[in-house]
Amino acid sequence: MFSLFLYLLVTFLSGYFAIERIGLFSLRPLSTINIIHSLPFLAGLTGLFILVSFYILSNNRISGLRRWSYLVAMSLIISGLLVSYFTGFYVEVIITEGQGFYSGHDEYLSIYKGKFARPPEIGIKLEKLSPEFSKDSDEIKRLRGEFLYFRKGGGQTRIVITNRMPRLVNGMMFMIKGFGYSPRFVLKSKGGKVLFSSFVYMRLFPEGNEDFFRLLSPHTYYLRYYPSRTDKPFRLRIVRNKDIVFNDDIRLSEEVPFDNGVISFEEVRKWTRLLIIRDWGKIISVVGAILILLTLLPQKLALRKCKFL
């Protein structure tokens, strides 16, 4: 009876995970974190926990210590997942060189925030981003970000995060992913008065990629950036609804007159996606998984020894 339910639950969980990961019935595939935090998956896992617990408690062949280890490990995994579901905090922000990020003050794209999650107080500033490109310059081989982390009680710490190695600070995991360029535009009136100036993060990597931005007018500014070109590194196209009002290569700081304004690009910085994760539940689950391995391992080794003998 136990094995029947065990097979049923394990195939249900793995089948459900696979179906959602492929996206067979949904619009598009779901991310792993969304599947793990979904109600059917958590319900299935809780059912598995209850089943295994009953089996272990009622099985006299399993030694007392191992029995309790299993139970503790399973409880840790399940409670870890529940803690993660209710209090997990995953955010993603785009951060440009020289830009700071302060949680609670800035708007950020929240990937996941548990029902009872309280956003942690974070102050971090990207000082320098150093990419290492592949031979054809189309991919990032390595990305190194130098950050200033502002401590809660005052003071700051310099930390380095790479795309290969996440960094643990104050119980939070910091990761960087993705790369692009943030040009700084200056919009002036025909009379030369500065109306607006700002960095705008754009998906301009690799070379030839195009992205656009809009301000308050009906214009759309399409831009491509070619860092390898020394003379005219930008390709700019300004479109007012379906009317192209400018379309040409331009230099850095070149003033482009159009309709009732003048636009120029004064400097280019780099941006990356900073992922901040605070998930105590994940740590609890990992401890549970390690405990299960530790209790299983001696048994496996013993079996192997018996075979050799």
Binding site: F5, E20, L24, R203
Partner: protein
């Protein structure tokens, strides 16, 4: 043998759970397996784009008449940009006239059950006119463009949520991830 049956039941349960928790799961399932009427969707998208361009030109040519605004298959931000420009022209007592000459769809690609991309070659004749007398203020300018439309299916109707305009000789870059 019993364990195999239990495994089959587990997988069926997983399928049923996934089926019932998603909206339009049958349609999504058919789409992913290619068991849908792609030609009908493409026809619907083409009709949407023709309607979009007809209304687009009419709004400009009438100086912002709101007639047809409810049928205009476009996201609110697109509507806002169109009427913002029309109002700018109106402030100068003028209007920009869009006269369509060519509209040819190069391709339509369904990205998922509710998202599609279409590329069209279009030629418009543009000129600025006095709003009262319809006197030509600017010469007629031919504007050959390539337009990449991003469409979403909302309540079973396709709608333009974004469009990118390229020059006739411009290379159309790959779709950037922020398109939709």
């Amino acid at each position: 043998m019993k364990n195999i049956y239990a495994s089959i039941v587990g997988i069926i349960l997983a399928c049923l759970t996934s089926f019932f928790i998603h909206e339009n799961s049958l349609y999504n399932f058919r789409f992913h397996l290619g068991l849908y009427d792609g030609e009908a969707e493409e026809r619907a998208i083409e009709d949407t784009l023709r309607l979009f361009n007809r209304h687009f030109a009419t709004f400009f040519n009438t100086g912002g008449s709101l007639q047809g605004l409810n049928e205009f298959p476009a996201a609110n931000l697109i509507k806002r940009r169109i009427f913002q420009e029309i109002n700018n022209w109106r402030k100068n007592n003028s209007l920009l006239v869009y006269d369509r000459d060519v509209f040819k769809i190069e391709f339509i690609k369904l990205m998922d059950p509710v998202s599609a991309i279409a590329l069209a070659k279009e030629v418009w004749f543009l000129n600025v006119q006095d709003i009262d007398t319809r006197r030509y203020i600017s010469p007629v300018k031919a504007a050959p463009v390539k337009v990449r439309y991003f469409l979403k299916k909302i309540e079973k109707k396709w709608q333009v949520v974004e469009y990118e305009v390229f020059g006739e000789g411009d290379e159309v870059p790959p779709v950037n991830k922020g398109g939709f």
